[in-house]
C-alpha cells in the first residue's frame, strides 16, 4: 500500500514539477544548439525590439532567434549585412544567420507595416 502511494506521489510530482523543469531544460539545451542571440519583436508602443541594442563579438557566426510575441506580423531587415526575414507572422519564430565580419554600429528594422508607429521600430547591432 505504501509503495503504491509513493508511486502515485512520484507520478504527481513528475506531471507537475517534472513537466515544468523538463520544459525549461529542453528549451535551454535546444537553444544553445540553434541560436546564440535572442530578439523579440514588439511594436514600438509595446516596447519595440528587445533587446534594442545587441552587442556581438567580431568575427563570429551570429544566429539570431527572432520571436514575434505579438498578434500582428513583423519583419526583420539588417541592410548592412544583407540579412532579412521577410514576414514574421504572429507567434512565428525565425532564425537568421550571418557572419559578423564588419565592425561598427548597424541599424536593423521592421519591414512589415505593423502599427502606426512602425517607422520607429528599429534597433542597433554593435559589432566590436
Amino acid at each position: 500500500m505504501k509503495k503504491n502511494e509513493l508511486v502515485a506521489v512520484i507520478l504527481f510530482l513528475l506531471a507537475t514539477v517534472g513537466t515544468v523543469l523538463g520544459i525549461l531544460a529542453f528549451e535551454k539545451i535546444r537553444g544553445a544548439q540553434f541560436f546564440n542571440v535572442e530578439l523579440a519583436a514588439r511594436s514600438p508602443l509595446n516596447g519595440n525590439w528587445y533587446p534594442r541594442k545587441i552587442t556581438l563579438p567580431y568575427g563570429k557566426e551570429v544566429r539570431i532567434r527572432i520571436r514575434n510575441i505579438e498578434t500582428v506580423s513583423h519583419g526583420f531587415a539588417l541592410p548592412d549585412f544583407d540579412v532579412s526575414a521577410r514576414e514574421i507572422k504572429a507567434g512565428e519564430v525565425v532564425v537568421v544567420k550571418f557572419l559578423a565580419d564588419k565592425k561598427g554600429t548597424f541599424p536593423f528594422f521592421c519591414t512589415v507595416w505593423c502599427s502606426n508607429e512602425h517607422m520607429q521600430m528599429s534597433g542597433e547591432l554593435i559589432v566590436e
Binding site: R42, N46, A77, E117, M119
Partner: protein
Amino acid sequence: MKNKVIIITLVFVAGFLGLVYYAIMHSRGIPVKIEKIETPVLAVPFIDTRIDLSKDISLNTWDTLSGKEIKLMYQVMVLPWPKAVVPSVLVKAFRTQEDIYFYVSWKDDTEDRTHAMNQFSDACAIMFPLGKEAQPSSIMMGFIGKTNIWHWKASQDNEYWQGAHPKTDAYADFYYPFEEKELFVVSKQTPQSAVSDLLAIRVGTVTSKEANAIQGRGFWKDGAWNVVFKRPLKAENIEEDTGFELGKKRLCAFAAWNGSKDDRGGRKSISDWVELDIK
C-alpha cells in the same frame, strides 16, 4: 484547525497572485521603458525676402536659420534596399508673402549629376501627405491617403538649368516598386523644372502632374549638397497640391539618394514624419 486552513489558503492565494503579477509584467515580453516618440518640429518663419533660383540659392539667407538635423534610415519596406544609408539631412524652411522655401542639405562625397546606364544621379525629395487627417501609414507613399512628392534630381537640375541633353541611347528613369519592373524611357521631354511634382496613392503609383509650380536648384560644394525648393504658398488644386495653412502645423518627410552608391527608385534613405510649424 481554522488557523491552519486560513494560512494554507493565504499561501496558495499569495503564490497565485505572485504568478499573476509576474505574468502581467511580462505579458509583452521583458518590460522596458517605452520611449515617447517625439516628432521633430521644423519652424517655418516669415522672412521678407525673395530667392531667384536662376541666380543662386542664397546661402546667406539660409545661414540665418538653424534648421533641424533629421535622421534618415534605410528604406526597407520594399525591395530593393539601398546599399548604404545617407545618415541625415539638414533641413531649413521659411516663407514669404507668396512663396514657401525649403532647404535640404546632406553630405555626399561625390557630385553625381548624370543619369545613364549604371550611373545614377543624386537626388532628394520632400513628401507631404494630402488630406485633412494624415494617417501615419501615408508615409508609405500615400497608402490610404494621397501624398504629394517634390522630387529634385541632380540630373534633372542639370537638364533644366544648364540645358544639358539626356543621352539618347538609353535613358533610365527608375520607378517603384521592384528592380525588374523598372522602366526605361528612351526619349524624354525637356523638363519644366528641376523638381518633379508627383502624386502617389501607395507604393507603385507615382504619377507626374500636368502643371508644375515647384522650382528647385541644387549645388554641390565641399562634399555636401545644398538644394532649395520653392513653390507658391497657395495650392492651385487642393486635391493634388500640398496646402500650407498659416499658423498651422502639417507633416512632411524627407528622402535622399546617393547616386554613387547606386541609389535610385526604392533604394533611398528616408526619414520619419517631421512637423512643419508654419508661422
